[in-house]
């Protein structure tokens, strides 16, 4: 136990002197790295604009309020598009994620050394790239529009859904699988009757959870031209129509809150 001698009295301390020195050095390095980063950011910043920021913020606020309520009549179709991008994107992602998840799970993969790494690579690479970047790429390939948004959301969601799903598959109860196997079931029957019923609740939960996230992401996909309400947002920003921008932001906020509420309700009903 680390103790310190204080005027002949033993006092308890949390760390030995060597430990506290190590901690001190670690903190010093951390602070130095942060100071360097901050210095780099500060160099790249025009500080005049920053000191001017409160005035600008105030200016934007006065321009943006009140929102232009009558503009909401033109937002019906974009909202419908946004909903479609999120829902169809999730739908296609789930179709693609299920086989990937089965190939990636240790207990169902046909080959641990060849197929599992490929499935894991698909999961990592689709997960680590943001849907906006996928949308940029797909717009360059298949042209702007809702379809590019659907595919972008679908690709982005594969990794997320497959990762959660394969973890669920790895955690299943093996005894049930063995029981089905013992009845003489084929490989596919074992899957359908031994594995699928166990992961179905997890699957439904993942689907709704990802749908909720996709609603959020699809609201901004339009910024790069992939359809949805983001298109209206970017065109309003481009013409500096701040009352329209504030209305769109309110609509997006409402959509996010509603989708989160729906997904929480559905997940509560499933689990």
């Amino acid at each position: 136990m680390p103790v310190k001698d204080l005027k002949g009295q033993q006092v308890w301390q949390r760390r030995t002197s060597r430990e506290s020195l190590g901690h001190w050095v670690m903190w010093l390095i951390g602070v130095a790295i942060f100071a360097y980063c901050w210095q780099q950011i500060s160099e790249a910043t025009t500080w005049f604009f920053v000191w001017d920021a409160p005035r600008i913020a105030n200016d934007i606020w006065t321009r943006a309020t009140p929102p232009r309520w009558e503009y909401i009549t033109q937002l019906g179709k974009p909202i419908w598009d946004t909903l479609n991008i999120a829902t169809l994107g999730t739908f296609f992602a789930l179709i693609l994620a299920v086989p990937v998840a089965f190939l990636a799970a240790r207990n169902t993969t046909p080959s641990k050394f060849f197929i599992r790494p490929i499935a894991l690579l698909i999961i990592v690479s689709t997960r680590s790239i943001n849907s906006l970047i996928w949308a940029l790429l797909l717009i360059a390939i298949i042209g702007p529009g809702v379809f590019a948004g659907v595919i972008a959301i679908a690709i982005r969601s594969i990794g997320f859904c497959a990762k959660l799903l394969y973890e669920a598959i790895e955690e299943i109860d093996e005894t049930q699988v063995e029981a089905i196997t013992a009845t003489g079931a084929s490989r596919w029957q074992v899957m359908a009757y031994g594995i699928v019923p166990q992961i179905l609740p997890a699957f439904a939960g993942i689907a709704v959870f990802r749908w909720d996230i996709n609603i959020r992401e699809s609201t901004v996909l339009g910024l790069v031209g992939a359809g949805g309400i983001g298109l209206q947002l970017s065109s309003s920003l481009n013409v500096l129509a701040w009352p329209q921008v504030s209305l769109i932001l309110l609509v997006i906020l409402a959509a996010v809150v509603i989708s989160e509420w729906v997904s929480a309700k559905v997940r509560g009903a499933i689990i």
Partner: protein
């Protein structure tokens, strides 16, 4: 016995996932109707898609020969800026989110503070990074400062919420024992609460660093600094080999971060 009698001789059928028949059929029909409606309203220009397949092939091929060299200075600068934004915003975000998490835990904070902190968390979570970035770029001008502020703001909502939940589910007994020894409020937090939530805090922080790096890659699209601007330019010029190089670097860094975070989380837990 009668239940068995009625079952004997009949083939077993798999019980459906949704028990109530009307609800099951309503869900199936509703979803089918929705799919049809959605398909009708999305106009896909198949000729354009077909044309694009050639470009898609080029892009996939570009991954086999990514071009790191011809725009190396742009890529390098963008990557460094992204990493700097990630580090700085994670540090600031974590430092700010710890007091907010303490305030948002009902078993530590009084009701007024709890409500204020929960409101901060709700606002931060409801606004998306990219929208916040647009507003902050408009206010603070182009550059990494706007990106840094955006990511810090987003970190607060994420980390405070999860940390507050962990604090709320902590073991009261340990905290009370510290209090009974006559500890001040700060000592109580330091010795009673902090040791219990530290593993979770470290795990969440590393996870958030990972997320912040991924998000910093897109903030450049709206002018908030980082690799996104370079990536956007590469796509606009159809320089797929450069874009592939940037994407590969992002994937590699994210993989490395995930690997490191896995090791650290195993060690602290």
């Amino acid at each position: 016995m009668s239940a068995l009698d009625t079952r004997i001789g009949k083939p077993w059928k798999k019980p459906p996932f949704v028990q109530r028949a009307w609800l099951r059929w309503a869900l199936i029909l509703g979803f089918a109707a929705y799919l049809v409606a959605a398909y009708m309203t999305i106009d896909v220009n198949w000729a354009r898609v077909y044309e694009g397949l050639e470009r898609g092939k080029q892009f996939v091929l570009a991954f086999t020969s990514p071009d790191f060299t011809s725009r190396s200075s742009d890529i390098w600068e963008g990557m460094i800026e992204s990493i700097i934004m990630t580090v700085a915003s994670s540090v600031v975000g974590i430092i700010i989110s710890i007091p907010i998490a303490l305030g948002a835990a009902r078993n530590i904070a009084p009701l007024p503070i709890y409500l204020i902190c929960r409101a901060i968390i709700a606002v931060s979570r409801a606004l998306q990074e990219i929208i916040v970035a647009i507003l902050l770029v408009a206010i603070f001008g182009f550059g990494p400062l706007a990106g840094f502020l955006t990511l810090s703001f987003a970190t607060i909502g994420f980390l405070s919420k999860l940390l507050a939940e962990d604090i709320e589910s902590m073991d009261r007994v340990q905290a009370e024992a510290i209090k009974a020894s006559g500890a001040k409020w700060t000592q109580w937090i330091n010795y009673g609460v902090q040791p219990q939530v530290m593993p979770r805090l470290i795990g969440l922080s590393i996870y958030r660093v990972d997320i912040n790096f991924r998000e910093s890659a897109i903030l450049g699209l709206v002018g908030a600094g980082g690799i996104g601007a370079t990536l956007n330019t590469a796509f606009d010029r159809y320089e797929y080999d450069t874009a592939a190089a940037i994407l590969l670097m992002i994937i590699l860094i994210v993989m490395a971060l995930e690997y490191i975070s896995g090791i650290i989380r195993e060690r602290v837990q």
